[in-house]
Symmetry: C2
Subunit: 414 residues, 2 copies
């Protein structure tokens, strides 16, 4: 099995001004094709530390990937460091410059002169195409080791990995495979899952099982390695069946499935539409629903009634009801869901009202208390949740659990 | 200056199923107090690789921090690895167990039996308190090196770093300081900033300057190190003044300031209120506005009119207007903003309508075309933006640029 190391480069990563999403993306892609990412190292834009990290990496693994520092500005020093490490010169590539100028011309923009730097490239490297940016990927394949430097701009790197790096790596891979499957759950905490499947987790087997908790739900990951992907898949299928017997109702999807995508498919299939009424989440639910391209097929929109006045004026929640039960109550949640169905004509309406924190709690209504309402032509109801003390987590949970309330309703689960 | 290495541990990080936000958080906190984070390494839950990473780290820096693997389940092996590396035994701590049981009792929950593991701790370690979780931080201070293991659950780690680790590190730090300042800009691309300040960037000075581009805006970071924080601050002040002369109108804040926080402060100060009408962003704008605790002081809510019908029925945009100019047009954006002011009674209304992609483009309306409208009692207008080809980026930009349109309007900038 090929062992790899990823070196992500950038002051912004070390100082924490940017979250390293590139590492996660590359980690997933490598896992998918069965490359063993043994280490990931991050260093600042610092020649000595970059050299140290690259040389360490080339000593302990077969494939070294870097991201970052390939841009045209003064703090992009990866090319210089590569030249130093591999003892090369920078060479000017006229054809690369011509292509770059063409790319800009197509967008109707004059190329900034600074970008001429992007045609200066280390001698002896081969290149990976960059479909949307100016920095080519650089490849050295020497003494049995593969070294690949890629740009750090996420979208540029992602296209380069998918279209160029993955095919390159696949060629080097033998017949050893790692098969992964993720079961994505919602509506149940990690410890509760664990208690239901403890005996299965502790059984001896060549499938490793991991629990990945997040505010939006717990993912269970099965990993099985071997020579034959079909055999691995079959073993995982069997284990999944046994898990599903215990916690099937909480599993909404697999691998890259997201809850907004899954509900979108369900609504599309039945030709239904959805509208929403959000209070404490302020638009979070609408945001995640519309992360899905094509959501307009089933998502009409909705109302963000952050103030109580708008709950009344836009959703028709009676003032007396809010006064009697409070804005965060089962009754208000139901009235909000009914109100949004009425004003939009959607098949389903879901509503969220809760106390996200850090303020707003009362003696009988703690931070984290959230009601999610659902209405359609036939009925309406609301469910009560106690999420916890942390504002961001409460808002994220509320948005995802709201989708789950609809998922369970459509599937006829309790 | 103290050199540190961070080792983040977890299969989920290596496989890319979780983005490593912990590293960014810790990177920021270390930078703030002038600890030099030289390396950050990530390894899977794998004894051999964890040992390798920890021993490498303890060889090359003074302070080694780890996160992850301290939970009670089978794949949490950090304690075992620590015992192996430092040659210790696990010891049962009755007082730790008693405290844990108390913590659960307070929440009104019976402690899961699995959590008894959390009282088994390596001999000779001292502890960092965990205010909201069950895993204590573990500290070894030996032979001039400091080793600290912390839990990987973000909120638990964050509180531990802020309340316990930072004071611990401050004690070890001499009088060398690193002074950072970030200038947060919006509404201008990196290359355009660079052209305006190129000569300042290329001047010889002991302030290093970095550009950190993101969809929501470009951050410019000044870093100045020395023995005296006031002297460093003064130098940075001077440079900032010179930057502000060129690009001041684009700078909305400093350091941890976010645009939603800044606009919230502006609205609070003037006692104004805001309501929003979102189309392509589907709730994103409302979500980021309500990330700010206390947003209810100025944010009323709004309408997500993802479908054209709702633009008409909820916002009063005339059907003929949409038919004539299209849903993505200056006219519709203005009508949406006016409509939401009318229906909510807010001081300001902002609207977003655009083509996020990947579909929906026409010959004269490319993907990325976005109109942001603004209305108040006196006037209304809309601005046209061309963001680009990537859906997620377009939505993020639209939400942040919409806030910027209001910021500029209130400040009287063009």
């Amino acid at each position: 099995m090929i062992k790899a190391e990823l070196v992500t480069i950038g002051d912004e990563l070390i100082y924490g001004h940017t979250v390293d999403t590139n590492a996660a993306f590359i980690g997933q892609k490598l896992a998918d094709i069965g490359v063993d990412l043994a280490y990931h190292t991050t260093v600042a834009d610092n020649t000595q530390r970059m050299l140290n990290a690259i040389s360490h990496a080339l000593n302990r693994v077969d494939v070294v990937l870097t991201t970052g520092g390939l841009g045209p500005t003064h703090d992009d020093i990866t090319k210089k460091v590569i030249c130093k490490y591999f003892k090369r010169q920078l060479v000017f590539h006229e054809d690369v410059l011509a292509e770059l100028e063409q790319k800009y011309a197509k967008m109707g923009i004059k190329m900034p002169p600074l970008n001429q730097n992007q045609a200066l490239l280390p001698q002896g490297a081969s290149f990976l195409n960059n479909k949307i940016g100016s920095a080519l990927g650089l490849v050295f394949d020497e003494q049995g080791k593969l070294f690949v430097a890629m740009p750090g701009v996420p979208k540029e790197m992602e296209l380069m990995v998918t279209d160029e790096l993955v095919p390159l790596l696949k060629k080097r891979i033998g017949d050893e495979v790692i098969y992964h499957r993720r079961l994505n759950t919602v509506g149940i905490f990690e410890s509760a899952i664990f208690e239901k499947v403890k005996d299965l987790v502790e059984e001896k087997s060549n499938i490793t099982i991991a629990f990945l908790p997040a505010a939006k739900g717990v993912t269970i990951r099965f990993t099985c390695s071997g020579k034959d992907v079909d055999a691995a898949k079959e073993q995982v299928d069997k284990l999944e069946t046994r898990f599903a017997e215990r916690i099937g109702e909480f599993i909404y999807g697999y691998d890259d499935d997201t809850l907004p995508k899954v509900i979108g498919d369900m609504l599309t299939e039945s030709g239904s539409t959805l509208a929403i009424a959000e209070s404490c989440t302020g638009g979070y639910l609408g945001k995640i629903l519309t992360d899905i391209a094509g959501a307009s097929k089933y998502f009409l929109g909705g109302i963000v009634s952050y103030s109580n006045e708008l709950k009344h004026s836009l959703l028709g929640v009676p003032d007396e009801l809010i006064e009697k039960y409070g804005a965060v109550s089962e009754q208000t949640a139901i009235a909000m869901a009914e109100g949004v169905v009425k004003s939009t004509g959607s098949t389903y309406g879901i509503s969220i009202t809760g106390i996200s924190g850090p303020t707003g709690a009362t003696d009988d209504k703690p931070i984290g208390l959230t009601y999610i309402g659902l209405a359609d032509a036939n009925s309406s109801f609301a469910k009560e949740f106690h999420f916890g003390p942390v504002r961001e987590r409460n808002r994220e949970r509320a948005a995802y659990y709201a989708i789950d309330v609809l998922r369970r309703y459509i599937k006829g689960l309790n």
